[in-house]
Subunit: 323 residues, 2 copies
């Protein structure tokens, strides 16, 4: 029964939390939710061949599997608490699991989220996490709260992960080892070890009117906010700063990565113009950059305007899976 | 973006619950936990080729994917509340999804559990559910509470699912359609549409000292209870009634199915002998049969004794996956 041995290998590495009454090892975990708070629950799955190629290093898979779920909690303004992991492995490979766990628990421990349950099964490599956080009742950052006149913000430097994916797919980036070139190494890290903006999400409670995490691409994800809020958006093509790691590329490459690339796990949110300084301060306390890239308008379209005032469209919208 | 269309197809079928503040469609679901209760959280995954063969009908997969998780909540004595579904599909197939949903929601609606989130991805067929229930603080049925002298109970008729699997693997049972023979049809249903003993679990709160669901086989799962409780168990080979659907087989076939087969999703639990009538009544109210099959003893071994007083061992212990 290798399944039990693999689960046990993970169990030994779980950090304690007072609100875990009973962790891995029974039919279900028992958890004590905080009084007066609501739960935020999200599930995201990564499959080999679709979301990552087989040569992806296991430590990076461990990190990213959790990161994409923490990013969803961040987008709700939720405090991470507990998670479960369903791990399908083609064979019983304890060495692989240990390295996977290095990445997984590095991020889990940084955010104090406890692994409380899981399932290890035989099958093509697939990683599914359900993450549970909490948020005071009514304080969650939802997609449906954007208001006409809001400023549209995005954290960090979207586009870098898409650039790395593009280079990788073109055979110009070996993601299995560190790159000597610092800019390339930055891109590689951004793709393999995205930083979920958990602290920024917490600090944006009471400031952001609507929020989404950028996983499918900025335009696509902002489109979800607009659809749920019943509004449109107008973005400025030159409002997104070009990070140093992308300065070696021409704008015709960079802009589509920034506006339509995926896998960034930044936060895109809207807030009142009067709160601009408060938002900037909140992001600064969270150690995250942020930029105002446009505004919420009436209507139902998301448009991008170039410096000449002409509409701009990326060659494709939304994130294309690896395979 | 077929992913969004598939999720939307499921969202339309979710029954409302007052404690779902925000369901499918945001970065995470928002849920209102009941005051004073603890959460029970479990994750189980079914992979094609490992847990089920490709020809398994989708409606049965929908049912069983949820059933195996509800069974874990039942074994904790937890009230089902919410679940998430991660669904990996080899292609975008709305017709398949609709039939899958027929089975999934038939069981979900019967137990009032709401699907609150999910992820549909491209990949080999794989189904992962995380189920969340609640239980008053301290009332959960755990694996670690068995006491020397307890009677060991099992609900229902374990062995039927293993019989069906055995017949299927031998080419003697077509699981893709109803069988004309009523006994065979009973076996087929038991494998494909197991009944999670949710009501029995709820009624056993305060009566059962320890509980586990029988998914890997009665001896294997009772072994987990004994290991966690620091006790041994002595079972009587003839204490398990042979259900009518298994009367056409010789005891040498039936006993291994009953004691070492998997996929039954019955409950195995221990209770004080003085509570025998109360337990019997609780099971009767839950509409579930039950039998005392042995007792908890000092030590750390699980043994089975035949009517002649000789130790009996199944040819194999524990559940063997389909492939």
């Amino acid at each position: 029964m290798p399944e039990f041995a693999l689960i046990d290998r993970l169990r030994r590495r779980v950090a304690a939390r007072d609100d875990v009454v009973l962790g891995i090892g029974d039919d279900a975990a028992l958890l004590q939710p905080p009084p007066g708070e609501q739960l935020a629950v999200t599930t995201d799955t990564l499959n080999v061949g679709t979301h990552f190629p087989a040569e992806t290093p296991p430590a990076e898979l461990g990190w990213k599997t959790l990161a994409v779920n923490l990013s969803d909690l961040a987008a709700m303004g939720a405090q991470p608490r507990w998670c479960t992991l369903s791990l399908s492995l083609p064979q019983d490979d304890a060495a692989w699991l240990d390295v996977f766990a290095d990445g997984f628990f590095a991020l889990a421990d940084a955010h104090g989220i406890a692994l409380v349950g899981g399932d290890t099964t035989r099958g093509p490599l697939s990683l599914s996490v359900t993450a549970i956080g909490s948020v005071p009742a009514g304080a969650a950052l939802r997609r449906d709260g954007a208001r006409v006149g809001d400023e549209i913000w995005v954290t960090g430097t979207p586009g870098e992960a898409a650039a790395a994916l593009s280079l990788w797919q073109a055979g110009k980036l070996d993601v299995t080892r560190a790159c000597a070139d610092p800019a390339r190494e930055t891109l590689r890290q951004r793709l393999l070890r995205p930083t979920p903006r958990v602290d920024a999400g917490l600090r944006l409670r009471g400031l952001a009117h609507a929020c989404v995490d950028v996983s499918d691409g900025l335009l696509a994800d902002l489109g979800h906010v607009c659809a749920r809020s019943g509004v449109g958006a107008e973005l400025r093509l030159d409002a997104l700063p070009i990070p140093s790691a992308l300065r070696g590329f021409v704008p015709a490459q960079v802009r589509p990565w920034q506006f339509a690339g995926g896998d960034d796990y930044e936060l895109c949110f809207t807030a009142a113009p009067a709160d601009r300084d408060s938002v900037a301060q909140a992001l600064a306390f969270a150690g995250t950059e942020g930029a105002v890239i446009g505004r919420v308008v009436a209507g139902d379209r998301v448009i991008v305007v170039d410096p000449a005032g002409q509409p701009w469209q990326p060659p494709r919208t939304g994130y294309q899976h690896f395979a």
